[in-house]
Symmetry: C2
Subunit: 146 residues, 2 copies
DNA sequence: GTGTAATTGCAAATGAGTCGCAATTGCAGG
DNA sequence: CCTGCAATTGCGACTCATTTGCAATTACAC
């Protein structure tokens, strides 16, 4: 009965604890899928009746989490903003609904199993794949470019 | 010797011809990969010593091309802007360099051939896959949601 | 407790992309 | 070739997600 991404997520101990960061962590840990910064901000405004929360703080907290490798930032085409997800180990793919923009996690990575039956009840009309890494020039030279 | 995406690209005949559209078409047809609107704008400024070119025109021309299905718009994560590519038939995947952001076309679609050896001389450190389509709710209801 | 560096709130800046509007241009029909 | 009107363009102002400068606040080691 215990899902493997439920209650066992802990606030990372190599990151300075602040109320704001704990709140963002709490939301991301409880979320079923990626959230936008605005999503997070709005939910934060509701749950916090005391201190204020600045939008810029949300972005900065997310940036720290991402930099430390706890959060994955992604920007599905069709949406003009980024989505953030607490990283739970195994890499994930999503089926993005063209209409409501919901991101539905795939049951498994299609590269391991080409069946592509994706999530249940999802009509696939297209897909997008991007590989990341370094091209010949960039993998030999050091990190100079921009 | 004749590459299949070389000289045989024609300006579409179901689109009104203007100097600006022809120029954008010329650039995209000559490009080896996707270009950003800013790329296009800058190259246009150089090659055209006569009339002026507005950034908004570039966006509008690209929008028309995309709407008619001649151009594919994409936004690789890590870059905060969109890239446009003249559509040459078969769908394409790219290896995106994390450093210089160049988009290098894959020799074939990894879904057809899982080898994933990608372009030559490219070190893959990760990949991103997105499926597009409609979730259960959206595929049954009509197009109301935003 | 105290001090200091890290973090935050705020407000202003940025930058890609969009939009309204008046001036220009493509092109169908004479 | 000329005319007229709808489509297209240039311009500048605008939007909106995200970033940044700075002064005030806060976490946490000593």
């Amino acid at each position: 009965m215990k899902r493997d991404n439920d209650a066992e997520l802990q606030f990372p101990d190599n990151i300075r604890r602040t109320k704001q960061r704990e709140e963002v962590f709490r939301l991301l840990a409880a979320a079923s899928g990626p959230m936008s910064a605005v999503d997070i901000y709005n939910q934060l405004l509701q749950s916090m009746t005391d201190g204020n929360f600045a939008m810029s703080t949300v972005y900065r907290v997310l940036a720290v989490f991402e930099e430390k490798g706890y959060v994955i930032k992604s920007a599905p085409s069709g949406s003009d903003m980024s989505y953030y997800e607490w990283c739970r180990g195994q890499h994930r793919h999503y089926a993005v609904c063209l209409k409501c923009h919901r991101m539905i996690p795939l049951k498994r990575c299609p590269f391991e199993n080409a069946a592509l039956d994706a999530a249940e009840d999802f009509t696939i009309t297209g897909h997008k794949l991007e590989l990341y890494g370094y091209c010949k020039g960039c993998s030999t030279k050091s990190n100079v470019y921009k």
